[in-house]
């Protein structure tokens, strides 16, 4: 291999690549019925939870790993992975937080101390397999909003969990969802009562720390009738030579007139320039617009991970319900992203919007894969899809695989796609106004992503712009 792009700045700029020295309570590597029982016991779960896991495990055993995505990687040895890891000094309920863990989140810009907590954002912090702290509890409780770690929710509101867990992504939905359902260790649960508009952004920050572990978190958000919530998810991991598996499941349920906005900035460690290390991000995210006029909006900014396999979708069952998907996926070096969405129109007059912006640099492969499906009963359904790809350099590639199926002749479906490069003329024009080439490229790329960035909550949008700038540095092949 010669003449690789000298984009070592990117690695230096993976500021989240440090490891926290904490004693971890782990289980031996491997996956079997005993491990599942151990995880369930460690978490003090009721029998129905254990049964949910075992059912998922049996489904997983019957399934094989999906191979249709436009990505390639060596076989994963699922028996070599540790499925549980938690900071030892953490007591699950009322324990004091390990100072090292607390420091880690502070270093990541997420203060967990109630006194320094982030303005207008309630945070659930997940460190390896467990949730370590949730801020703003009291204020949320006054509104009747439940926002806590998944483990806590299983104990506190078992009926809600039993009612909704696996109701959007069934245990046997796909290989990775089944794996997650069997071994998931923590995550966030959120319930917004009828008519309540959540006054702060809810946020979960996922941090992988331990080596040789996978992270399998579970998020479940239920927005009851007429309620509204905006939820943010952030992720980082240390730089390690090995690949680490992250297989999350996110389920969203919106009842009548409810609205859920789910935003992600995914910055898992992408691996080095030879493609060593990095996170395998194999995630199942799905929203169910169960009630009439409900709305679920996904916004994702994917700038990390060695491999991304992720299709946040919406099942539009309620009449007049709305699904949205706004995505920026940036790949560099040897990163591979296969991401997109599924919009399933079931109810009448359901509408969906897809805006996907893929940016590939280095030797990366960036693929949009989408499905828009209109069922026979979805009279008056509409979809608009816009999929744009931007190539930086000449060793990367971009692919678009849109699938549109309509069983209702009255549906209106539009699809637009473009592939472009940053033109010399655009660069020259900006340079002729004094702007240096790097800033010019960054301006052009941010402009390209604007329709997505403007969907993010303001502070997140500023973060996303900065993050992309850092990722862009030195990526010019």
């Amino acid at each position: 291999m010669t003449d690789l792009p000298t984009d070592s700045r990117l690695i230096d700029d993976y500021k989240h690549g440090f490891v926290t020295p904490v004693d971890e309570d782990t289980v031996p590597p491997g996956l079997n019925d005993d491990i599942i029982r151990t995880i369930s016991r460690k978490k003090g779960e009721p029998d129905w939870m254990l049964e949910f896991r075992r059912k998922a495990f049996r489904a997983w055993q019957r399934k094989s790993e999906p191979r249709w995505a436009h990505v390639s990687y060596p076989p994963i040895d699922y028996q070599a992975i540790r499925y549980y890891s938690a900071p030892k000094s953490l007591a699950y309920n009322n324990g004091e937080l390990d100072p090292e863990v607390k420091k880690t989140f502070e270093r990541l810009g997420i203060p967990l101390d109630e006194r320094q907590r982030l303005e207008g954002v309630a945070v659930d912090a997940v460190f390896d397999s467990v949730s370590v702290a949730t801020t703003h509890q009291k204020m949320l409780e006054e509104k009747g909003i439940i926002f806590c770690s998944f483990s806590e929710a299983v104990k506190k509101v078992p009926d809600l969990i039993r009612q909704y867990l696996g109701s959007v992504v069934p245990v046997g939905d796909n290989f990775f969802a089944a794996l997650n359902s069997a071994v998931f260790t923590d995550g966030s649960f959120c319930y917004i009562p009828p008519g309540v508009k959540c006054p702060v952004e809810l946020s979960t920050y996922f941090r992988i720390n331990a080596a040789g572990t996978g992270q399998f978190e579970r998020t479940l958000i239920v927005a009851d009738r007429g309620s509204q919530v905006s939820y943010l998810e952030g992720c980082t991991a240390p730089m390690r030579d090995e690949n680490q598996l992250h297989a999350a499941v996110v389920e969203l349920v919106a009842l009548e007139d409810a609205q859920i906005k789910y935003s992600t900035v995914q910055n898992w460690y992408p691996g080095d320039e030879q493609g060593r290390g990095g996170i395998y991000n194999f995630v199942t995210k799905r929203g169910h617009c169960r009630g009439a006029r409900s709305k679920i909006s996904w916004t994702q900014v994917e700038v990390g991970s060695a491999i991304t396999w992720k299709y946040p979708g919406c099942v539009l069952e309620g009449d007049g319900s709305v699904g949205e998907f706004y995505s920026v996926a940036f790949t560099n070096r040897r990163m591979q992203a296969d991401t997109g969405t599924k919009m399933i129109h079931i109810g009448r007059n359901t509408r969906s919007t897809i805006v996907s912006k893929g940016i590939s640099a280095g030797e990366s492969v960036n693929t949009y894969r989408g499905l828009v499906s209109v069922l026979p009963g979805a009279a008056g359904a509409r979809n608009h899809s816009q999929c744009d790809s931007l190539l930086i350099g000449d060793r990367c590639s971009a692919n678009t695989f849109p699938v549109v199926e309509s069983e209702n002749p009255a549906a209106i479906l539009e699809h637009e796609a473009t592939t472009s490069r940053i033109s010399e003329d655009q660069l020259y024009y900006l340079q002729s106004r004094g702007i240096d080439p790097e800033a010019a490229r960054s301006l052009i790329v941010n402009g390209f992503c604007r329709d997505v960035f403007k969907q993010l909550p303001l502070e997140f949008s500023v973060e996303a712009v900065k993050l992309l700038e850092i990722k862009m540095e030195g990526s010019i092949g």
Binding site: E424, D425, Y428, L430, S432, G434, I435, L443, G447
Partner: protein, 262 residues
Amino acid sequence: MNDADSTLKIAGLRASVGGKPILNGVDLTIRPGEIHALMGPNGSGKSTLSNVLLGHPDYEVTGGSVEFRGRNLLELPTEERARLGVFLCFQYPVAIPGVTVAQFLKAAVDAVRGRGAVKAAAFLRELREGAKFLEIDDAFLNRALNDGFSGGEKKRMEILQMMMLRPSLLLLDETDSGLDIDALKVVSKGVNRLAGPATGMLVITHYERILTHIPPHFVHILVDGRIAKSGGPELVRELEARGYDWVREGAAAPPAAPGVAP
């Protein structure tokens, strides 16, 4: 900075595109306060000259020098030429989708006038004032730069950029082409506001019309990549009357020195 520093001295400039010579030894001096018009038939190299002065990557300089404020412009990247005070009003400005006029101009103003030199509030005030002066609706400032703009809107936007960046050397590349009379008046008004003892200007055009709004001190005629004839404003009328063939026939004769009437 004294005025002599801001004198543009082009000497023996040669340039080609795709191996084809376009400029064949251009000599031209523009002092601060002077307005020069550059005319010439299609393909004579007028636009090439302006793009070579800014450093367009498609043009290869094969000889000569361009001095401005003590530097050889030809050795500088485009953005540094702009920061020295050179501004080109493009004939065909490109669109930058998703980047608003205000956002772009803030980046440009920070780059040219110095980061932090203009505070956000002062910047916005100046931008709105400039837009009003050029009869540009405020809504344009939040639209993506040149994206879906008409020809006239693009040209006004170029002049707005010029006003914000305050160049000491202005190059207008056929800014008048495709403009109706009202737009031409507005554009000229912007240019004339910048005109003064500190600013040199090169107005590249096919037509007399813009020169009645921006009266030049000197007129040059470019033929086959060389200045074939130079003179005062009266040259414009002569050209209108006799056409370029008249100049071509005389092109073999040595050109007159800039600023000296024939």
